[in-house]
């Protein structure tokens, strides 16, 4: 009896040991297999010319895996487009890996060198610049030069905004085209007799009036300062730089001179002007985006820097009679062009993917006019594909935004991703600037120090 128990105990111990050891073993195998992954790339690149045929005559076979993050834009479009693609390629086995936590779930596979073939870069945990630096994404520069979509149009021609370049190379293509900007409540402005701002001086002017009427003019989320940076600071820099957004691209490329340019200082001084007039709600520094948006919807604050997704995001909390007013930027001089800082999400092909041919064919499928209106309709956001969506069932503010972004009177800043360290330094410094902890000069000094460190 005792021996039986003993044997059982030893047996359990042995099983436990085996299980945990095999856990280690399989992990090792994964890391070992990673160097072998590049070996599959010659095969894929050999078949590249085939995928360039516009009419998609090559029969796609095998497995094809798509990773897509599900956030504010939902997953309706993804499910639809994948079903369409599957129907067009019956011999291909399309695997969907989507969800709000998908970026974390897929991480081990990216680390292990066994990524999905196609990735939609959006949501926390994925950063296109970092992925490029890590060599995770396929270089699409040459392919994109003459890649045509399923309708036979050149993809580069139908993109509303060009892809970001990393040292002249292209790795990812913007799919969504949204815009940062400043919102107000038209109804409140009408009721109080305030004029809607069109430039910085009219903004300051109406701000004084708003303040005199007992409303705080401006609220933002200090917990996530990229809102004020994206909707206020970056457009301000471009306006101060004669509407030339290359300064932001230079900043993203970690060029110190760009950060030291007078345009940056001029833009920072606009935040200071707003701060010193007491326009910025004191609560801003400690609250998150939802809290700031709630205070804005309660008319406690007149302006909020945000993105065009705001009406959709807060749709359940918008009070009756609230009427969103929107301008992409308020920092331009009187008579100057409006600057729209776009907020994009991109798609890319994994360098270590096993079916790059299918991934490229999927790109040709996705970047078509039919999918553009379908995207606007199903996701509630403008797509980065030129095309008239006025006849589609897209929501009205999406159509308005699309109009804004295609207007010749708007300077549109294309998609730019900063180095994560520099981005964080800019966010911290802007926060510090809004609460009078540092001067604009100190902002520049702080950020350039980080840029120099990153550039090393």
């Amino acid at each position: 009896m005792v021996t039986k128990k003993k044997i059982a105990a030893i047996g359990i111990a042995a099983i436990l040991a085996a299980v945990s050891l095999s856990g280690c073993g399989s992990k090792k195998e994964e890391t070992v297999s990673s160097p072998s992954a590049p070996a599959s790339s010659p095969k894929a690149s050999a078949s590249e010319p085939a995928s360039q045929t516009p009419d998609n005559t090559v029969k796609l076979t095998g497995d094809f895996e798509v990773q897509y993050f599900v956030g504010g834009y939902g997953d309706k479009w993804w499910k639809q487009v994948i079903a369409d693609f599957q129907a067009a390629n019956p011999d291909l086995h399309v695997i969907e890996s989507g969800g709000p936590k998908i970026n974390d779930q897929m991480k081990p596979r990216w680390i292990g060198g066994n990524p999905p073939d196609f990735v939609y870069i959006d949501g926390a945990g994925l950063n296109d610049r970092q992925m490029v630096e890590d060599g995770q994404l396929e270089d699409l520069t040459d392919w994109l030069k003459d890649a045509k979509n399923v309708d036979g149009d050149l993809i580069l021609d139908i993109l509303a905004q060009p892809p970001q370049q990393y040292d002249g190379k292209i790795f990812n293509i913007p799919l969504v085209l949204n815009s940062w900007g400043i919102f107000w409540n038209k109804a409140l402005f009408k009721e109080k007799g305030w004029t809607e701002p069109t430039d910085f001086s009219s903004f300051l002017e109406v701000g004084e009036k708003i303040k005199a009427d007992g409303v705080t003019p401006f609220i933002h989320t200090g917990k996530y300062p990229y809102y004020i940076n994206g909707a206020f600071l970056y457009p301000a820099i471009v306006s101060a730089n004669n509407n030339d957004f290359s300064v932001l691209q230079d900043m993203a490329a970690n060029k110190v001179e760009a950060f030291e340019s007078p345009a940056v200082l001029a833009a920072l001084n606009k935040i200071v002007a707003m701060r010193d007039k007491g326009f910025i709600d004191k609560a801003s520094i400690q609250i998150n985006h939802t809290d700031s948006q709630m205070l804005f919807l309660q008319n406690k604050d007149a302006f909020i820097p945000n993105g065009l997704w705001l009406p959709n995001e807060m749709s359940k909390d918008v009070p009756q009679g609230f009427d969103f007013g929107f301008i992409p930027s308020i920092t331009q001089d009187a008579g100057g062009k409006v600057v729209a800082n776009t907020s994009t999400a991109t798609v890319a092909v994994a360098k270590n993917g096993k079916n790059k041919e299918a991934a490229k064919a999927f790109l040709q499928f996705v970047f078509s006019k039919a999918q553009a209106s379908q995207w606007a309709e199903l996701s509630g956001a403008p797509s980065n594909i030129k095309g008239d969506i006025s006849n589609s069932n897209a929501p009205n503010f999406v159509k308005d935004a699309a109009k804004f972004l295609t207007s010749p009177d708007t300077v549109v800043i294309p998609t730019i991703t900063y180095n994560a360290d520099v981005d964080k330094a800019m966010m911290d410094a802007t926060d510090a600037l809004t609460i009078n902890k540092i001067t604009p000069e100190e902002w520049v000094k702080r950020v350039t120090e980080v840029v120099k460190k990153v550039g090393k």
């Binding site: 060198g113 890590d134 520094i285």
Partner: protein, 300 residues
């Protein structure tokens, strides 16, 4: 012969209990620590299989990173504040509920213990509302006494915002240590207090000369536990309430580790921060144990 087999059987029996535990400990504690230390020698984004060995560079960088120093300072500030705050209040409550003969002891004991049942995440969100400058309880309460509406941004000072994280942290911790001390105090024989009373000792004297020496072991364990949970776990409350901001003023080692490893893609650097947390916890534990070494008072 017979005793030998018995001994062997006994050893086998013991081993069958210890070995699996040891194995689990090895796999789930030792292995990750070693793995963490291994990664701390690499420049790795944590997102790909591209790793570069850089030796001690992460640790050297850390030495020059002002945020690391601030985070360590904040960590020890929280340790000191929590140890003093929690121990003072928990001891007071424990003594009050056991020695002063209240009628509603059970009720108060439950009330004080409630924060321990609530998840730290909920506590963080709750206190965020208390501190909210526009719709928060604290400003509304203070406004009762002033002519003008109070609009203090409790979590948005240029400096020392870390002070504001102390009340929720202390509030959340009191209950558990109070129960621990109540149990210890209740195990002291009543005759000791009777004797002290006859000798003319007042409540304070009884507390100092009878209660404290006899519950010293529990006090020691409590202090060490508060220290360790703070160094390793203050991440949660910081991340929920401020995410280390504004301008990194409330950053602790745990939150900075998360920020660096998962927001700024420096996994290797994050791993080295984690290793420093381990070293600091160990060093502080040893130091505190030395400081609090006290001749054991035996109850017999």
């Amino acid at each position: 012969m017979n005793s030998r087999t018995e001994k062997r059987q006994r050893n086998l029996f013991i081993a069958s209990f210890i070995l699996p535990t040891l194995l689990f400990f090895g796999v789930f504690t030792i292995y990750p620590v070693v793995q963490g230390l291994y990664y701390s020698f690499f420049d790795w984004s944590g997102m790909s299989n591209k790793k570069t060995f850089i030796g001690f560079d992460n640790f050297k960088d850390m030495f020059h990173d002002p945020i690391v120093w601030r985070a360590i300072g904040n960590d020890y500030f929280l340790v000191a504040g929590k140890v003093i705050g929690i121990m003072a209040i928990a001891t007071f409550f424990a003594v009050a509920l056991t020695r002063f003969g209240f009628k509603m002891t059970g009720f108060f004991r439950s009330i004080f213990f409630i924060p321990n049942v609530i998840s730290v995440v909920v506590i963080g969100v709750l206190w965020n509302f208390i501190y909210n400058p526009q719709i928060g309880f604290l400003n509304a309460f203070l406004s009762l006494f002033t002519k003008e509406q109070v609009t203090i941004t409790w979590l948005g000072f240029t400096d020392h915002t870390i002070w504001m994280l102390l009340p929720p942290a202390v509030w959340a911790g009191i209950g558990f240590y109070m129960i621990l001390l109540i149990a210890a105090i209740q195990s002291i024989p009543a005759s000791y207090y009777e004797a002290a009373c006859i000798e003319g000792a007042g409540q304070w004297r009884q507390f100092r000369s009878v209660t404290v020496p006899l519950v010293w072991e529990q006090i020691k364990v409590s202090v060490l536990n508060i220290m360790m949970t703070t160094l390793n776990g203050s991440f949660v409350i910081v991340w929920i309430m401020t995410e280390g901001g504004p301008d990194n003023s409330t950053q602790v080692m745990g939150s900075y580790l998360y920020q660096m490893a998962f927001r700024q893609f420096h996994f290797g650097y994050g791993a080295s921060i984690g290793f420093i947390i381990l070293i600091l916890s160990l060093a502080t534990t040893i130091l505190l144990q030395r400081l609090m070494r006290h001749e054991a008072v035996e109850m017999s």
